[in-house]
Symmetry: C2
Subunit: 223 residues, 2 copies
Amino acid sequence: MRERPSRTSPYTIDVVLVTAMGNELAILLSRGSTERERWALPWRTPQSGGTLGAASVGVAEDALGEPPIWTEQLGAFGDAKRHPSEAEISVAFVGLVPHQTASPKPGYNWFPMRDLPPLSPRQRAIVEAATRTIQSRLDQAPIAFRLLPSTFTLSELQQMYELLLGKRLHKASFRRALQAAWLVEPTDEWRSEGRGRPAQLYRYAPKKRRRPHRGVRFDFLYP
Amino acid sequence: MRERPSRTSPYTIDVVLVTAMGNELAILLSRGSTERERWALPWRTPQSGGTLGAASVGVAEDALGEPPIWTEQLGAFGDAKRHPSEAEISVAFVGLVPHQTASPKPGYNWFPMRDLPPLSPRQRAIVEAATRTIQSRLDQAPIAFRLLPSTFTLSELQQMYELLLGKRLHKASFRRALQAAWLVEPTDEWRSEGRGRPAQLYRYAPKKRRRPHRGVRFDFLYP
DNA sequence: TGACTTTAGTCGCAAATAGTGACTAATTCG
DNA sequence: CGAATTAGTCACTATTTGCGACTAAAGTCA
């Protein structure tokens, strides 16, 4: 399967694969090749001719058998922190995977983000960067939609936002903003989930609209 | 001064140093070592023991004699695009320099961003990433303040925002938002700039304040 | 000097946006 | 049937924002 790189490998490509498992976010880790290293982010060494992004997709395909539904580079991490491969730097990516389609290959496992096994300092930094990037992209890219199945109820969507943002949202405000954004359309299906009124199913179907015509924001606090 | 790295150098650290020259943004380029390469982003190869960020500051110090006033990593750029050093990937940084204090050492020159000399495809991509990062950080970090001298008029500040955003802003709205953010305080000096009423000088002096209590935003358009 | 121009700085209305509680609707459970 | 539970909507209020119009203080020029 994966090979230990030569010590002179210039850098590795490390990928944080994120999914929503029940009420928690989870990331995929791979079992280390020796007993001393327990779990680590999936990674590979660069292959000649491929782009960095393509390599990160390859890592995901090795681990799950299919590409993530969205990826973004997090940057290069070095800073004298140790990496399992002993490479000098890691180029890190974050990728999103809907949980339905995500069965880890042998040697890989999902771990809830709140309860990760010990990782190297560099990999901890990478996971933290992935969390920050997901949160900051939330209002710029359809992250939450990508973590849900192709049809979903508005309550499920709101719960996904609440999970990603780490805070409760008000139902009426959430739906008003969603309507204004022209991002979803109703299907003609309804889902009855135990007790309570059945919910209508929606699908992600963004429509063109004018960009909000905003002025400046000074949303920062620190020098 | 700078040395040509060995061909096996694993990666380079490339830095986009940005300043405001008059009415335009400008970046610093260094003259290539051969006739065929004309101008390129300043860069160096990693030094053992230092962090990536420290290396990017070193690049700026080589070029200007002092550190940038703000830096941020842009990520790793590879993707089979050629780099002057022939390194496989570049770890790119953006740094801000106020124009007053920025005298390039021999071999370096400022170029307005609208009119850059030919660069390698990879370095063009890095410059574009720097522009995007500056724009997106504008409401999260005091970028514009850092490009101005330590005291400035509110009109100068607004002009800097307009330059960075590439659009006009409404004076009263700009000042109201600025007041609400508690970011500047007036000095007791005034500046008379030819005709027109003299303007009061301000300094950047952020004060603690509550974070805005916002709900969700769906500010995206594309899938 | 005094009208005119130019830049600085402020006010206040109107429109858009956002927070929130209370309401109606449709289902299960006992 | 009534209580509980979840979905979906309404309407009121408060806040934020766009924007035109205003006042203030300087220079220019006849």
